[in-house]
Symmetry: C2
Subunit: 146 residues, 2 copies
Amino acid sequence: MKKERELYRDFLKSKNLKFTKPRLIIMETVFENHEHFNVDNLYELIKKKHKNVSRATIYRTVPLLVESGLIKQSLRCESKDIYEHTYGHENHLHFVCDNCGKIIESGFSDVAILIDLLAKNENFEIKEYNLGASGLCKDCQKKKDN
Amino acid sequence: MKKERELYRDFLKSKNLKFTKPRLIIMETVFENHEHFNVDNLYELIKKKHKNVSRATIYRTVPLLVESGLIKQSLRCESKDIYEHTYGHENHLHFVCDNCGKIIESGFSDVAILIDLLAKNENFEIKEYNLGASGLCKDCQKKKDN
DNA sequence: TAAGTAGTTGAGATTCATTCTCATTAAAGT
DNA sequence: ACTTTAATGAGAATGAATCTCAACTACTTA
């Protein structure tokens, strides 16, 4: 968290942006709490801590966190953008259950090698992988079998 | 196209849905024209053909085409859902250029094998792959180099 | 550490994709 | 044709994300 905070501050400075209280609160809440989140989650979490930050500010700050490389936009659920930590987290892919919405993460070192090859063929320079599949998780397969 | 039409009609029948003129026009336009499209594109294309179908009906029909397996939702661009044909098209992955928005397709037979393995480990039953990466296409790399 | 300056915030208005409502219309079976 | 039941069009409604602008605050310099 200390590391994240420093990276964030450096990033802001490099862009001539200010290290403000709302920006700090948002960043701390993002890293205190969980893996996947959306702006709504975040807003509620911050409110619970009796800190007040407006939704607008969260919407303005999340893209900064993305640009700084600390988080990334990973999926969309219920028509909302979902974000996740990237700093200190291995690349992984998502299996998303169509039935219950569960998100299962799985490593993908070998997959990345193959994708890199394909990208090379196209002279495409990858910034970010976006890998996953949708279907049915273990539990929901059982439910559907009835 | 004949095949698509039949599959579509069978699908509708199996669901006790009617094979109506708007549904036919939408389906034909989808398959006459292009790979990736959004509801707006589709609406404009249909209007150009002097056929009239309301946006609401397109929004209602696209999910039917998805459910029937003829198309799938593949990406989001400019805050809009993007769809693509699936019937008669190999699985592929998308390289999306962050700079110019170009979508490059590339086959992924080997990647799929790996992903299938990972899914098996999690007892996850894959319905649809969702594979790609974002970054810079060949042309935009050059532009940025200046 | 006071003052200046330039970016930031909150609140609410706004936008825009998508969904919903409901009166009217059209398929499909008999 | 007749009847039933779903589908359509038009516009209203929803809701996530963005924008506006007056009030505020972080950083810089003296």
